[in-house]
């Protein structure tokens, strides 16, 4: 455990992303599934910032700013959909939202 390098940050990013995927797979509460997606977005942000710092390019940091804006838009629309679904079904169980199943 001497010097902290790019690899340490990338490994942490992979672990956080995987935790988010596992949350999406194992939880049925729509709001928790949403929070798992936010964990995944943050893991991707960490990888972007790591590469931006490592190769000295500002593109990665600008991309993180845009990802944060998209995450805000996604959270607003997604939570509005959850509220609308809750009005119809009185539940946020993702398995009860199967109207569009083929």
């Amino acid at each position: 455990m001497s010097e902290i390098g790019v690899g340490h940050y990338l490994t942490l990013s992979a672990i956080l992303f995987t935790i988010g995927v596992m949350g999406v797979l194992t939880r049925k509460n729509a709001i928790i599934v949403f929070m798992s997606i936010e964990i995944m977005l943050n893991a991707a942000n960490l990888a972007f910032v790591t590469f931006a710092a490592a190769i000295g390019d500002l593109g990665g940091q600008v991309m993180v700013l845009i990802v944060i804006a998209v995450a805000a838009a996604e959270a607003a629309v997604g939570l509005a959909i959850i509220v609308a679904m809750f009005r119809h079904r009185e539940t946020v169980n993702v398995e009860s939202f199967s109207t569009m199943r083929g």
Partner: protein, 171 residues
């Protein structure tokens, strides 16, 4: 160990533990609060990478605005108590665990642990602690990246209108 190393290990451990608590906690309010702690840890990690502006934005937008929205919806829908349907069955959990551990194992086995990018970008001459400053990001955002910036503004407008239309009560 240097100061950066101590900060990295402390923040990384806390971030992973809090993220695990987010997906394992039965109470949605506890999940939201653990997620806020996890976002603060990521902001700290951004500081260790000299990205001070992004760390501030992370705290303001993510830990501030987005998580307040989540907490607001959890309280509004009265979901602060554990729900009977909360977790998938044991088979799904085992499959998810195996896939997750396998995915991280495959990435580490492929060598991301000791990956060092060789290419140097256009800003390689700038001192690393100036790269993440507000001034550097602003000049990049308003010159080279002005088009994505404008599209993002349009996206936020569309999302705002969409959220209002979706959440409006029908009559």
């Amino acid at each position: 160990m240097s100061g950066i190393a101590v900060a990295f290990w402390a923040l990384a451990t806390l971030a992973v533990v809090c993220s695990l608590l987010v997906i394992t906690s039965r109470n949605p309010v506890a999940s939201v609060l653990f997620l806020v702690v996890s976002f603060f840890c990521l902001a700290g990690l951004f500081v260790t990478l000299h990205s001070h502006f992004l760390a501030a934005i992370q705290v303001l937008v993510y830990a501030g605005a987005i998580m307040v929205l989540f907490l607001f919806v959890v309280m509004l829908l009265n979901l602060g108590t554990p729900q009977w349907f909360d977790f998938a069955g044991p088979p799904v959990k085992i499959v998810a665990l195996v896939l997750g551990v396998g995915f991280v194992g495959a990435l580490v086995g492929a060598g991301i642990g000791d990956f060092e990018p060789a290419a140097r970008g256009p800003a390689a001459g700038i001192a690393p602690d100036l790269l993440g400053s507000t001034e550097a990001i602003a000049s990049a955002l308003y010159s080279a990246y002005y088009l994505p910036f404008l599209v993002t503004a349009l996206l936020l407008l569309v999302a705002m209108v969409g959220a209002v239309v979706l959440a409006r009560r029908e009559r």
